[in-house]
Subunit: 320 residues, 2 copies
């Protein structure tokens, strides 16, 4: 199976579960909790969990679908709370929960999804010790997600963020949940400790590379294809690996801190490309995935291992 | 041991754990998460958990202290998020997290404590199956707490809330976590199913009675002793068992929807007392605790069972 087809298949399975458990919400709070979840999404964290589980023990993911759903619920919970903090109004083509309802309802809707995540992890079909460990892993991960989001907010008021600080933030904000997805899949499928360890590191690398690629897409993707307005990070003076690398190379991006025309976007891309910023950032994302992919050699060869490696590649190839 | 001494001893144990794990927070988010937790509190939910565990199996609570802490963390997480929704500025004599920091930090601080609650439940010393069940119980409870808070908010815009609706809201918003405290203590201590069931019902009753008593204290406690300004529920036209019972008896409280002088407070108390509202509400709280206390007869006689019964009495006798 090609990766595209696998991702579609995995998303279908997750969407079916979402439809079963959140498709007919009763009461306003449950409707608010189901809103963003039912608005679609690529379901990449569940897919990574399923592939990791199946790479460890063939076909084990069928019994672990509640845990796959738990990871999507956790992701959605953080999106709902992040949208409140960022005062965002739209996501995935629908109004955010804070916009369609209000802040209070959005806080509670996030909390509800987070609670259900733990209920679903408990409901996976796996030995008690493995499920208990998965619960602990999810709890620690959420702690990290919060720290990552908080770091990200503090960066907004700074113009001296280093690439080390940026990568630490991304590891927590985005990497941690991918790491948990891969390693929880491994734990529930009965993996050995070394297998759990490498899948954790692989997931972390995928998450970090995913975020760096997102930053590249923000700048490079043709207008209207990324879902955000092009060059928004540059316009807002946001710290990303691109802007940090540019600063370290002595490039002054401050003239571009205003709404950018297409021509200005092309200018700034040209400037960054000429100084090797884009190649360097792209190279780092690819290096992170390549190094982590090499670790997977301890897994037995299988269709799922091949798809895991393809997923890593996909994370640094998509949209740019 | 008298109940007072026991509660002090239990709070000391919980405070020691809070000091160990949250006493030297690193970073701004951890400081915000520790803030309200370290500001004191009666630690009644941990005390109920400890007594329930010890009533099932003597001295078992020593091994379950991480779970006792988890219940206090869950309680504090809901307080932090509720304070954002209610735009409250002070609690327990200190600024709320949303007031001292900001809303975004308060959302994350609540989420962090909630994550840690699950970590600590996992960390209790008890069989894996029992801990896993406790995790599931805590997750379902948080779901209910959110529904209860949401119901409470919707009541603010209604003047036709029935006593049945009010009690359903209180069961979720306040009762559920007391029910979880008692039953999680029982589960972790290795209780039989009937023991778990009656302790759950006893905890639920305690929580509901606690809230009704809070409403009585809001009105009846001498100015300056309850921590809130006296008669605030009447002033705000809030639905409580007192105002609902008054409405059902045809008493019009709308003339009192403004800041109340002490004399006006005495007037409204006299009015409600004359119509038997206060006796009726107090009688319901006591009846709820009495009925639930009777269920505890299936527990073996012990010092802890005696203290559990005293705790139920305390909930309906305190401050009024």
């Amino acid at each position: 199976m090609e990766l595209d087809a696998y991702l579609e298949h995995a998303a279908d399975q997750v969407d079916r579960l979402i439809d079963r458990y959140f498709g007919a919400p009763v009461g306003e709070l449950n409707r608010a909790a189901a809103h963003l979840l039912s608005a679609g999404g690529k379901r990449l964290r569940p897919a990574l969990m399923m592939l990791s589980a199946d790479a460890v023990r063939r076909s084990s993911s069928d019994e672990l679908m509640p845990a796959a759903l738990a990871l999507e619920l956790t992701h959605t919970f953080t999106l709902i709370h992040d949208d409140i903090m960022d005062r965002d109004s739209y996501r995935r083509g629908v109004p955010t929960v804070n916009h369609r309802w209000n802040e209070a309802t959005a806080i509670l809707a996030g909390d509800v999804l987070y609670s259900r995540a733990f209920s679903f992890i408990v409901g996976a079909i796996a030995p008690e010790a493995a499920r208990l460990r998965a619960v602990g892993m999810l709890a620690i991960t959420c702690d990290e997600l919060c720290l990552g989001q908080h770091l990200d907010m503090t960066f907004a008021s700074r113009d001296d963020v280093t690439d080390g600080e940026y990568l630490e933030m991304v590891e927590k904000k985005t990497g941690a949940l991918y790491a948990a997805s891969a390693s929880i899949g491994a734990v529930l499928a009965g993996a050995s400790e070394p297998q759990i360890e490498v899948l954790h590191r692989f997931g972390l690398a995928c998450g970090v590379a995913f975020q760096i690629q997102d930053d590249l897409i923000d700048l490079l993707a043709p207008a209207g294809t990324s879902g955000k307005d092009r060059g928004s990070d540059i316009r807002e003076g946001k710290s990303t690996l691109i802007t940090i690398t540019a600063r370290e190379k002595g490039i002054d991006l401050s003239p571009y801190r205003h709404p950018l025309t297409e021509a200005e976007c092309e200018d700034v891309i040209g400037l960054l490309a000429d100084h090797g910023v884009i190649d360097e950032v792209r190279g780092r994302a690819r290096g992170i995935v390549r190094d982590a992919s090499a670790l997977l050699k301890i897994l037995p060869d299988s269709e799922e291992k091949r798809l895991l490696l393809a997923l890593g590649e996909y994370f640094v190839a998509r949209g740019a």
